[in-house]
């Protein structure tokens, strides 16, 4: 049974608000009394997903769904998509620009870190259309 479902739009290349959605999501989960360890793992994965929406996509959203035994976090965007997902998942691989690196991102650790922190991780992408990432956290 769904306890909560909420969407958070994320704008491309907006470095001032980048991370705001993740901060809101973290607060929401805290208020719901979700286990601190789950919140920590989800916050890390969520923030990396949000930053990817900002630096790699043309805009998208994070969707949080909480039910009694699982939290689902979906990152969905319109954008260039990922041609080679295995390569993109490799730690250290990044197509981020020098500008993005100056902002402290683009180390190529994000996708692998999301996969590591989520209990289940699904990624699908269509070149020229966009990318969808689904992450599940057991309660």
């Amino acid at each position: 049974m769904s306890i909560l479902k909420e969407e958070f739009p994320v704008e491309a290349m907006d470095f001032v608000t980048a991370g705001e959605a993740s901060a809101q999501i973290k607060r929401l989960l805290k208020k719901l009394g979700v286990d601190a360890g789950v919140i920590r793992r989800l916050s890390i994965a969520c923030y990396e997903a949000e930053i990817n929406l900002v630096i790699h996509s043309d805009g998208g959203k994070l969707v949080l769904e909480v039910d009694s035994n699982e939290v689902t976090l979906i990152s969905e965007d319109v954008g260039p998509g990922i041609p080679d997902i295995d390569l993109a998942m490799t730690e250290g691989y990044s197509t981020a620009s020098e500008d993005v690196r100056m902002m402290g991102f683009g180390a190529g650790m994000g996708l692998a870190n999301m996969a590591r922190n989520a209990d289940r991780f699904d990624i699908s992408s269509k070149v020229g259309e966009g990318t969808t990432i689904k992450m599940y956290f057991s309660l």
């Binding site: 470095f15 991370g19 901060a23 973290k26 920590r40 916050s43 402290g104 180390a107």
Partner: protein, 116 residues
């Protein structure tokens, strides 16, 4: 190690409205890449960084990092400092480089939170 002792070791000054010198810090992470910080999170960690933008404070918020030291005389951007004050994060600044600051903390008994 208490934050007050870290301030002494690094000859660091307070930048945020409040600095909790009694804060217990168990390990340190030095990086300008927030993804690296997010990949190796530890509890009761202090962050040493030369990155001054708001994403530093976002990263702290996500990882429950309660103290940050800006190295090499760098200072947080106005927005980053505003966020730190709002979140009650203790912000320090030192003239030491990242390398020297890390060395001083390590020599002072601080490790990176991993055993061995």
């Amino acid at each position: 190690m208490k934050l007050g002792q870290i301030m002494k070791l690094l000859d660091a000054r307070a930048i945020s409205d409040t600095v909790d010198e009694e804060l217990e810090i168990q390990c340190a992470c030095a990086s300008d890449m927030m993804s690296d910080v997010l990949a190796f999170p530890k509890e009761h960690m202090i962050l040493l960084t030369g990155l001054v933008n708001p994403q530093v404070m976002r990263t702290c918020d996500m990882l429950d990092i309660r103290a940050v030291v800006f190295t090499r005389g760098k200072l947080p951007s106005a927005e980053a400092l505003r966020m730190a004050n709002e979140e009650g994060i203790s912000v320090l600044a030192t003239e030491n480089t990242q390398y020297i600051a890390s060395g001083k903390l390590y020599a002072g008994g601080m490790d990176n939170g991993t055993k061995g």
